[in-house]
Amino acid sequence: MFTLERRVEQSKSWLVFSPIMAIGLTVLSGIIIFSVLDKDPWMSLYTFFIQPLTTGFGFTELIVKATPLILIGVGLSIGFKANVWNIGAEGQFTMGAIAGGGTALFLNTQESFLVLPAVLLMGILGGIVWGMIPAFLKTKFNANEILTSLMLSYVALLILSYLVHGPWRDPGGYNFPESKIFSDFAMLPILLEGTRLNLGTGFAVLSVLIIYILLSRTVLGYQFKVVGLAPAAAKHAGFDRVKLIWLSMIISGGLAGLAGISEVSGTIGQLLPSVSPGYGFTAIIVAFLGRLNPVGVLFAGLIMALTYIGGENAQIEIGLPAAVTGLFQGIILFYLLACDVLARYRLRYKPFLKARDRE
């Protein structure tokens, strides 16, 4: 029979290989799913995974889509490493959009180069404040941050909905639930003419660099890692658990808020009832796919962005249902977790031991 035998040391090669294997298995599952749905599997795979990358514009779209995923994912990976489970990045993203977007609307008539920094700052603060609520509840009342942050996401979404349907609705917008378009001074500059590539991507790359250095070289990064791996050892070392919980929620909230305002100020240009196709939740998958390592998150963000674009493409070109995007994202996470087991355990074939015969 087959048994799982624990390895002496975590297999480093498997840790690198398992995301690749997970993606491979996902592609295989895709072939099966497409066949069952009566579509040509190879055509579908091409439409989903390859076609979006065949044009220059398509490539920049990939990066634009990946930017919020990377920004949020990098922040989440710090928190997850410290065993603080921020599931409410979607809410912090939304609050960032609201706070920053509100500032942009307030300063709509101002013509100053200070508008954009103010808008971005408010966006970050919005995310931070929203992230501080679960931190407070956890440190003061031991309330589980998974539940509190998740529930606050819905609160944030409803606040956004209220604002764009009500007080912030564009009077010249033909009664559509959307805010005024932001002035040019509140918008992120475009990096490449003819594309939607904007400064937000720059923030994403910068965040990868900063968080990477934080985690690998600084005392604070070390404290985050220890508090997640061995809380008793963190106590022994005298690390302040409460401070680390607050900091990880502030960092991940702030980055999610920055992602939110970057999306609204860079890509969308106004506030709408929905400013995110679930980036805050997909970023969780991105964080794990990237092994909670900022550089890994960069690549994982690009891959998950592909599922968004591929999904849209597949809907348009071959008429697959909208759920196909979420389906693939879920499948990737599933296979990733399964393949991770093989980094810790080895598959062994053990024949039954026969009892000796009595003589």
């Binding site: 624990r6 390895r7 040391e9 600084t218 604070l220 791996l229 061995a230 050892a233 022994h236 070392a237």
Partner: protein
């Protein structure tokens, strides 16, 4: 006389040969082997236990004793080898089959339900259904016959460790075993309780029950065993009659080399009061932990204070209070290190004042299992060894510090980047203690310094502690192992029920006194 391991073929032939009149071995293991990932725990082990014999299975931590026991009791299946019970080949597929053959086992960590009475626990454990009245009289009978007094209707949580062990033994004896296995039974007993146990074992042996006695304490093996098998690194290195062998000889076989002496020499207190504890009171929020009551003592530079006591009497709580992991003490507690009040200071601050701490649990507490050795150096040495530069970690300095720990303390490992979880118990302990010692503390508080550590490493560690004290530091060793305390410490105290009794100079105390104090309020005889 010590004989080399027997040729297993001859063994098997002789027990089959019933006609020749040679006595049958009760249990005979032939060429038993068992491997786990990364280690060959048992390598071709032969063992022979005769009926009514008290057979010692000796070996240091990691020699393979526990694995062998589990194979005999059916908890593990051997990869190779044969088991003969009363001359017949058997496959022991599980503990209930082992029990039906007549093998009973008393575990090192008891498997009793604390919320039930002694009677209920025994009723749960025996394999056949039995009417309560009948069970009571059977328990009484066994209890009287073997000198194991127990109170049938008491709840287990109110029993002392010695009493619980008696319940475990009675439980095994009710099934009339032919072989009783005891795994390190005296590690949790006071000296008096241990004596009482030996008496019981002698009675059992005279009545024909064989005993497999597992221990690394050679003076016990010498005292009660008729025969002994010595294991080292998974192999049998010798069989002997312990009553005829000097302990030193057995110890050398155990370790495989000449054992260096530890010379305690004369430790003189240099007068500087380094550790001052006054009226320490602490009640933890955890309902199962022990309350610390009115603890007061001082330790001067050059002294090694040994705090003896059976586990579970407040040692862990004391350690977390002294190391600064816990700060919310009850009034009027005062802790002073090097004449500074540290009662409300955290662990990192205490270290900056020159204190070092080594808790009992290596993995997950003193060190982070999943991290490399270098990364574990930062854990306590960050500030004391200047490894922090404006928020950044000085990787190069930490790496060289790790290197010197490895070379100074003979840590067997692949290098500073090795995953800490891959080190053996002894090597990891050497690394952890080395990490603390390299910070040159003037105060060191260490809990169970050589628990689960091989003899070679234990000697290195004890020597290091002595050297530290000789250089003027004040050292506290909290240990369950009285032998260790006598070997290394010059002052002794006993901890029981969260209170400490200072006995003073170790040369002036008797084992008797210590034993009585260790038993605490629950000592009875």
């Amino acid at each position: 006389m010590i004989t080399a391991p027997n040729d297993s073929q001859n063994n098997m032939k002789s027990s089959y040969d019933k006609a020749s009149g040679e006595p049958n071995a009760l249990l005979e293991l032939g060429e038993i082997s068992k491997a786990f990932p990364g280690v060959l725990a048992n390598d071709g082990i032969d063992l022979r236990v005769m009926p009514g014999e008290i057979h010692g299975l000796v070996g240091e931590n990691g020699a393979g004793k526990s694995t062998l026991l589990k194979i005999i009791y059916g908890l593990l299946r051997p990869d190779q080898g044969s088991i003969l019970w009363e001359g017949d080949a058997v496959s022991i597929l599980g503990p209930s089959q082992a029990r039906s053959l007549g093998i009973g086992m008393v575990f090192q960590h008891f498997s009793l339900f604390e919320a039930l009475t002694v009677l209920e626990n025994i009723a749960l454990a025996i394999d056949e259904k039995c009417k309560t009245q009948e069970l009571r009289s059977r328990i009484d009978e066994v209890s009287r016959n073997f000198g194991l007094s127990i109170e049938i209707d008491r709840y287990v949580h109110s029993l002392s460790v010695g009493e619980r062990q008696r319940v475990e033994i009675v439980r095994c004896l009710l099934q009339s075993p032919k072989l009783l296995i005891l795994d390190e039974p005296t590690s949790v007993l006071t000296p008096q309780e241990a004596e009482s146990l030996f008496e019981t074992l002698n009675i059992l042996s005279k009545r024909g029950c064989a005993i497999l006695y597992i221990s690394h304490k050679l003076h016990e093996i010498k005292k009660i065993c008729h025969a002994a098998t010595i294991l080292r690194a998974g192999r049998v290195v010798a069989n002997c009659d312990p009553s005829k062998e000097p302990i030193k000889k057995m110890a050398e076989l155990l370790v495989g080399s000449q054992l260096p002496e530890i010379n305690r020499g004369r430790l003189t207190a240099d007068g500087i009061e380094r550790i001052h504890i006054e009226n320490l009171n602490y009640t933890s929020k955890d309902p199962f932990s022990v309350k610390l009551k009115n603890i007061s003592f001082t330790v001067r530079g050059g002294e090694i204070l040994g705090i003896a006591g059976v586990a579970g009497n407040g040692q862990t709580e004391l350690m977390s209070v002294l190391s600064g992991e816990v700060k919310d003490l009850d009034e009027p507690s005062i802790i002073k290190f090097n004449d500074q009040i540290v009662t409300s200071k955290g662990a990192a601050e205490r270290r900056l004042l020159g204190a070092g701490f080594v808790p009992e649990q290596r993995q997950g507490h003193a060190a982070v299992t999943e991290m490399s050795l270098v990364e574990n150096v930062f854990l306590t040495a960050l500030k004391t060894c200047d490894l922090e530069k404006s928020g950044f970690i000085d990787q190069a300095k930490a790496s060289s510090l790790a290197e010197s720990i490895i070379s100074n303390f003979d840590v067997r490992t692949t290098g500073v980047q090795a995953e800490t979880g891959s080190l053996s118990g002894g090597n990891l302990q050497k690394f952890i203690v080395g990490r603390e010692l390299l910070q040159q503390p003037s105060i060191l508080i260490i809990e169970q310094p050589t628990w689960g550590v091989d003899v070679g490493a234990a000697i290195i560690l004890r020597r290091a502690l002595l050297d530290l004290a000789k250089s003027g530091a004040a050292v506290i060793i909290i240990s369950q192992d009285l032998d260790e305390i006598f070997e290394v410490c010059n002052k002794i105290a006993v901890m029981a029920d969260g209170m400490i009794s200072i006995l003073g100079d170790i040369a002036a105390v008797s084992m008797e006194e210590i034993g009585v104090l260790m038993g605490g309020q629950r000592y009875e005889h």
